[in-house]
Symmetry: C2
Subunit: 167 residues, 2 copies
DNA sequence: AGAAACTTTCAATAACTATTGAAAGTTACG
DNA sequence: CGTAACTTTCAATAGTTATTGAAAGTTTCT
């Protein structure tokens, strides 16, 4: 397989994966591009490589900055701004986990806690409801604690511990 | 808070969470509804509770069956079919993990393996590319192994092990 | 201050995804 | 078999999200 072809395939596949991680397709593609680029790229270069418009590039670059997984960079002597990706996959995964925890897990935990306060009126419906909510709440809180551990963990420590688990 | 209000809130919140887990909104809402229902529900009941059309209900019920997180159930003497959700949150999480592994992680691993075969032509671009692909591949494969452990794990064993990790 | 180089915004529109509901299909019972 | 009870399909449409590109905004240099 040739390099350019491989690169396109990776960007495509990364686009899909990123999408299921809560990024959007273009965001994930820009990210993939920056991951494999040996040098920081300018907006122009990103536009050209992915054949996307200026506005689209700008919006998605901003979103990636917002997620904290790429960074802006000024090259002395150049007016343009350049962007580079965090290349450490571990740091990246951690950042994504952090964002998703904030955006997804925290809201549902909040609702589960509120909804857990409901007065049971003695009906079968409300009893079943309480039971399910309680279980979900416990599960969500445990997951949250686990995610927190992951987010704060050292890479080698984490994989070693996991390795022990797997035996 | 009143029960009906609480139920609506939960279905709403679950809808959002499910969405970020790869289900779609209606799918996740039907699932939430079946989770809190003390008895299996018919298509009619689901349609009424969520105010959705027959076609929509049917399609999303099928998708949930497909994911293996609800089941069809015939009540003797009744022509109608009823549906009930797996109520064990652990089993549910495991099933979702299994599906996502199949739908998302496996395809990217396949691509990473292929793309890892690329001939490096000695250019900086292709060297950087190789390096990144290799790291991604290692990470993805480790994650896959971890997911597999999770999917096969016993609930109490899993949380105990995790608890030890967190200390 | 003016002009060039660049970035950001946003209304229009394209692309995609979800939903409806009526029609076609299936099943099961008299 | 016929028909009532139910399920499935699918073309039309509504709703949502992504993308464009030109205009407005900003920065930096002379």
């Amino acid at each position: 397989m040739k390099y350019t072809e491989a690169k396109e395939q990776l960007i495509q596949a990364w686009g899909n994966l990123g999408y299921s991680w809560g990024l959007n397709k273009t965001m994930a593609q820009i990210h993939a591009l920056l991951m494999v680029a040996p040098k920081p790229l300018s907006t122009e270069e990103i536009m050209a490589e992915l054949s996307i418009s200026r506005g689209n590039a700008n919006m998605n670059i901003r979103a990636l900055l917002d997620w904290g997984i790429i960074s802006r960079l000024s090259v002395p002597g150049e007016r343009k701004e350049f962007f580079k990706s965090e290349k450490d996959v571990w740091a990246l995964a951690r950042q994504v986990a952090k964002e998703r925890r904030k955006r997804e897990l925290e809201p549902i935990i909040k609702v589960l806690r509120e909804v857990n306060q409901v007065q049971t009126d003695g009906s079968e419906h409300s009893k079943e409801f309480k039971k399910v909510v309680k279980e979900l709440k416990i599960f969500a809180e445990k997951s949250d604690a686990l995610l927190e551990t992951f987010i704060k963990a050292e890479e080698s420590w984490f994989w070693n511990t996991v390795l022990k688990m797997m035996k």
